[in-house]
């Protein structure tokens, strides 16, 4: 899959002209910054619309979507190039299966990502799920454990199914901000991020509507209920993140397996040994000598009956 021939990004032509203009503008911006390749990793729970988002982004049916069943456990990379610029999008299987983290899928993702550079992570979730629970935190934790904390510097949260009418007549903006706030909080908790871990601004949140019945504006661009054309907005945010100054994540063995616990503190072993000698072995030895001194001996042993020591 990785050796797959890089095809011409023809899907871009299917976008509305206004979007196309915007995209070319952004790609040009990237080229100016000397970025010729952009690798986007898409992760998230199962059934949140990861593959659809990928397809929307590429502009063609690059990856199969499986709406009612869990997809395969293999990640897929789609590569498209246009005018000397290569876009790689890695679509991954859902990390949750049956209420647990799918170790198998996680391992597959890890081995798939080995020796690749990830520029942007798209963490995908639905806008229309109302609750943030432990499972979200678990997923975030699994991602952090696999790719390290630094990945979140190059991450953006994508909320799909953006075209909805919020419950209880809540204003759309308020619902969106509440939802994203809760999700970001869970994300911070799950990733164990602290304020100073984050370089620059917080993780951006982008709304996406992959449905074909998505509203369009006068320029035939797909728009969100707020009126923003979302594809160009998404690409714009991706560009921003790609250019936010933090380093891309190079996935190597060390990163996947975490820091090798066998190497931790190795250099201190001589000190440990010296400490053990003086503060464990020696005190026990003294205690033994104390025991010998205190040992209660039978009277015949203490009574010195030797003629040599007795007065004649």
């Amino acid at each position: 899959m990785a050796s797959q021939v890089i095809r011409e990004w023809s899907g871009i032509n299917t976008f509305a002209p206004a979007t196309q203009t915007k995209l070319f503008e952004l790609l040009g911006k990237l080229k100016i910054e000397n970025v010729n390749t952009l690798t986007i990793l898409v992760m998230g729970k199962g059934g949140v619309g990861k593959s659809s988002t990928v397809n929307s982004l590429i502009g063609e049916r690059a990856v199969s979507i499986s709406p009612f069943q869990s997809e395969g456990t293999r990640p897929v990379m789609v590569s498209r190039s246009r005018a000397g610029f290569t876009l790689n999008v890695i679509d991954t299987p859902g990390l949750i299966e049956g209420g647990y983290i799918n170790d198998m899928a996680l391992n597959n993702i890890k081995s798939f990502l080995l020796n690749k550079t990830i520029d942007v992570l798209l963490y995908v979730d639905r806008l229309d799920s109302y609750r943030v629970d432990n499972l979200d935190r678990e997923v975030v934790k699994a991602i952090t454990d696999s790719l390290g904390k630094a990945i979140w510097n190059r991450a953006l949260v994508v909320l799909t199914h953006a075209q909805l009418s919020p419950p209880d007549g809540l204003p759309y903006d308020e619902f969106f901000s509440k939802r994203s706030e809760a999700l970001i909080r869970a994300l911070r908790l799950g990733a164990g991020l602290k304020k100073h871990d984050m370089q620059g601004s917080a993780i951006p949140v982008v709304l996406v509507e992959n449905s074909g019945r998505c509203n369009k504006n006068e320029n035939e661009e797909k728009i969100l209920p707020t009126g923003t054309p979302w594809i160009s907005h998404l690409v714009q945010i991706i560009t921003e993140v790609a250019l936010n100054g933090s380093k891309s994540i190079v996935v190597d063995k060390k990163l996947i397996e975490g820091p090798n616990p066998n190497d931790r503190g190795k250099i201190l072993i001589p000190i440990f040994l010296a400490f053990q000698y003086f503060f464990a072995i020696k005190p026990i030895e003294w205690a033994i000598r104390g025991d010998i001194a205190q040992e209660s001996r039978p009277s015949w042993e203490t009574r010195d009956t030797s003629m040599v020591s007795r007065r004649f």
Binding site: P261, N262, G265, K266, I269, E285, R289, W300, T305, S306
Partner: protein, 815 residues
């Protein structure tokens, strides 16, 4: 049958009176034949006693030392001392019973018969001798006896009896003439008479008895008369007047052992008065010198005071009082284990000071001899210093022989495991009077032994029927070469397999060389070098499923290698061991194939082999060399059968960076166990043991390379009870805490416990995180209670993680 006997025959020793120098009597000769004369058991110190003289006012009184009775002289063999102590320790059984002085007569005798060895023989004769009087009386009961042929109920003087008749004595009365009462058998004098009711005696025997009584010095006057009974037997009445001397207010106890005997000058009956006076004066002077040269006794102040109190209470010094003093003094000695000590004489009577002469039993010589199977003295293979260093100082010459020191020597020598039979045997020194030679007789074990034990295992074949193909010959071959060069060095090898036809399946071998006395046999430092080759196969507890996880495919860890270590023993239980271990570790799956990774069962039911790595190298085979040190402090002791005290163990394995992937690590563990005695109890056999609270903590940690087979596991009968081995987790650092309360109940104990094991969050620091892969918690507690049934612990433990309890039966102790 091991028997330990100590019987003071001299209980029956008459006190020789009156004071003055008397040469110490020879240690009595003991006959090995059953025809020993009745009185042979008591010391013969025949002093001619002038019963005609008035109350002894003179000091010293004239006396004559009579030769030992000719019968005794003709006795064939001198065998043991008057206080014969024979310690026989037979390795056959590790019992150590003690027959106290005069305790359990016949039973003890029988026990000795089975004692085996030369010591047993000695003891046998000794017992026979000791019980000779009773035995004689028994024998004579069966004899014919003659009627006295006189009218009934008349009093007959002893000399009026017929010399040809055998008289049956129906009963014996003692008449204290001074007090005018008949004394009962509880009186101390009673033991001095060897006549027994219903015995049959001739006139000569009766006369001899009377003579003995008259000469023993206890009585001023003794008479014996008979009273005829209607049935032809006679009743004997012994009437006596006790000797008394003037009151004393000082008491002195001296050790006259090893003092050269002063030769008595025969008193010429034709001496003039002046010569006689001169003679007495000389004797008095001699005695004074003797006292001065004598050494002070071991007798402690309290006993001195006790005796002084006795003297003060009594007023006049009487024979009975002296007997009581003798008993008191001797009792102290024997209670303290100085079994060879005895009061031999009271001197300086009729002065203000009573001098008690004691032979304490000074050791003059220590003899170590080896015997062959037949009991002949042979030149042993074992070097003498090896035995000597095990002996307590108190058995060396110039010390007073103590039976406890003898027992200690016995135990120490036994712990060498070189001898099949050990005897520690004090015998009188014939050259030095009052000296004791301690003889240690040893029978060596065979140096080279080889053993083959076989077993056939029939494995059920198809259909449950054993087939010929499934018959497997298995067993163990062991060889041992002990006591090389006589320095207790040994080589031991063993090979075990369950199938000799196909030994590569599971061949367990061990070859060990042990080299004690590394610093030289004369050096008190006790270090032992051990070099061994070994292999072992164990099921890894790291690859175990947590609760609710079905069967995790097992991983076997095979270790083969060599190690050399030095053990320094500080005490019997505390020691320090350090050495080098080199080993090859191979991890295998169920079918004995080498596997580099653990397996796991997928939710779909499939099995993958991408589990946690089993080895450091990732190939399934690791080689490593590391230093190992272990220091154990153990001051636990048994209080009425329950263990009390504390045990601390620290162990460190220091990797050297030599081996696959250059393993460099520091793996350490500290174990602290304390047994608190919750109630003070009286110590002694049969007393109830105290309740005990056991607190236990175990910390294990590792820095550096940690292969999974070296990870610390939690759970199991020796970790956290109520869980399976490794059920809680496998981690880099662990902490276990346990508390157990033991309450004694009817000779055993019941206990309640609570335990906790925690991985301290370090499970993830083990490569591959086997704790998480096999869905284990990483921490867990349990509690429960149980009862000890002999060697088996039956306990009900509740596992706190799943909240379920189960009943377990385990061998051995948890702590």
């Amino acid at each position: 049958m091991p028997v330990f006997a100590s019987a003071p025959a001299h209980l029956r020793t008459p006190i020789r009176l009156p004071s003055s120098f008397t040469s110490r009597p020879e240690l009595p000769n003991i006959s090995a034949t059953s025809s020993a004369p009745q009185r042979s058991s008591s010391r013969k110190c025949q002093l001619s006693y002038s019963s005609s003289s008035s109350a002894p006012s003179q000091n010293p009184e004239p006396l004559k030392l009579e030769a030992l009775s000719p019968i005794l002289k003709n006795l064939p063999k001198v065998i043991a001392t008057s206080s014969a102590i024979v310690i026989v320790f037979n390795l056959g059984s590790h019992l150590f019973s003690c027959n106290g002085a005069g305790g359990g007569g016949g039973g003890g005798g029988n026990g000795f018969g089975g004692g085996g060895g030369g010591g047993g023989g000695d003891g046998g004769s000794f017992w026979r001798r000791f019980f000779a009087p009773a035995a004689m009386a028994d024998e004579s009961q069966n004899q014919e006896w003659d009627s006295h042929g006189l009218p009934a109920n008349i009093v007959v003087q002893l000399n009026k009896l017929s010399g040809f008749k055998k008289y049956r004595v129906s009963d014996i009365f003692f008449l204290d003439r001074r007090r005018g009462v008949i004394v009962g058998p509880e009186d101390s004098f009673f033991e001095m008479v060897s006549l027994r009711p219903d015995g049959v005696y001739t006139k000569a025997q009766l006369q001899k008895e009377l003579e003995t009584l008259a000469t023993c010095g206890m009585f001023e006057k003794v008479d014996m008369e008979g009273k005829t009974n209607p049935d032809g037997s006679i009743g004997v009445t012994i009437s006596f007047t006790e000797s008394t001397w003037q009151s004393a207010d000082k008491f002195r106890c001296i050790n006259v052992g090893l003092l050269p005997q002063t030769k008595p000058i025969e008193m010429d009956p034709d001496m003039t008065e002046k010569e006689k006076l001169e003679y007495f004066k000389n004797q008095e002077k001699d005695y004074k010198r003797r006292i001065d040269r004598a050494r002070p006794c071991l007798l402690p102040m309290p006993v001195y005071n006790e005796v002084l109190q006795m003297l003060r209470d009594q007023g006049k010094v009487s024979a009975r009082l002296l007997q009581r003093i003798r008993d008191r003094v001797q009792k102290w000695y024997h209670d303290e284990g100085y079994a060879c000590a005895q009061v031999v004489n009271f001197g300086n009577l009729n002065t203000k000071e009573v001098v008690c002469e004691v032979v304490e039993g000074d050791i003059t010589q220590l003899v170590i001899q080896f015997q062959d199977k037949l009991g002949n003295v042979v030149e042993g293979n074992t070097q003498i210093p090896v035995v000597k260093r095990e002996l307590p100082r108190q058995l060396r010459p110039s010390y007073v022989f103590n039976i406890e020191a003898g027992k200690q020597a016995l135990r120490n020598i036994n712990s060498l495991a070189l001898f099949s039979n050990i005897e520690v045997n004090p015998r009188p020194d014939e050259k030095v009077d009052g000296g004791i030679i301690v003889e240690i007789k040893l029978k060596e074990l065979e140096q080279k032994t080889a053993e083959v034990s076989t077993e056939w295992s029939i494995v059920p074949g198809r259909g449950g029927y054993p087939t010929l193909a499934s018959l497997q010959p298995g067993g163990t071959v062991t060889f041992e070469h002990r006591n090389i060069k006589g320095l207790n060095r040994s080589i031991l090898g063993s090979v075990t397999t369950s199938n000799f036809v196909n030994p590569q399946d599971d061949l367990a071998f061990k070859l060990e060389y042990v080299h004690p006395y590394l610093d030289g046999v004369y050096n008190p430092r006790n270090r032992t070098l051990r070099v061994s080759c070994f292999n072992s196969r164990k099921l890894s507890p790291v690859f175990t499923g947590g609760p609710g996880v079905d069967e995790v495919p097992p991983i076997w860890v095979d270790r083969a290698g060599a190690k050399a270590n030095i053990t320094e023993n500080f005490t019997r239980q505390s020691k320090f061991t350090y050495g080098l271990v080199m080993e090859e570790i191979t991890t295998r799956d169920e079918s004995s194939h080498i596997c580099p990774n653990g397996q796991r069962v997928l939710p779909s039911g499939g099995v993958t082999v991408d589990g946690p790595p089993t080895t450091l190298s990732g190939t399934g085979i690791d080689r490593m060399a590391f230093l190992q040190a272990n220091i154990t402090r153990d001051n636990t002791k048994f209080v009425n059968g329950t263990i009390v005290g504390q045990r601390n163990v620290f162990q460190v394995d220091q990797g050297l960076g030599v081996g696959s992937n250059f393993p460099f690590f520091n793996r350490h563990q500290l174990t602290l166990t304390r047994f608190f005695q919750l109630k003070e109890v009286e110590e002694g056999a049969g007393k109830p043991p105290p309740p005990v609270l056991v607190l236990h903590g175990h910390y294990g940690g590792c820095v550096g390379d940690l292969p999974s087979y070296d990870a610390f596991t939690l759970g199991g009968p020796y970790s956290v009870r109520g869980y399976n081995m490794g059920e809680i987790g496998a981690a880099r650092n662990i902490l276990e805490l346990a508390a157990e309360l033991r309450i004694p109940v009817r000779g055993t104990h019941v206990y309640a416990f609570a335990e906790h094991g925690n991985d301290l969050g370090s499970s993830k620091d083990v490569k591959g995180n086997p704790t998480e892969v096999y869905r284990r918690m990483g921490k867990g507690s349990s509690y429960g209670c149980g009862v000890k049934l002999g060697l088996v612990r039956a306990e009900y433990a509740v596992d706190h993680n799943s909240g379920t309890g189960a009943l377990f039966f385990r061998f051995g102790e948890r702590f």
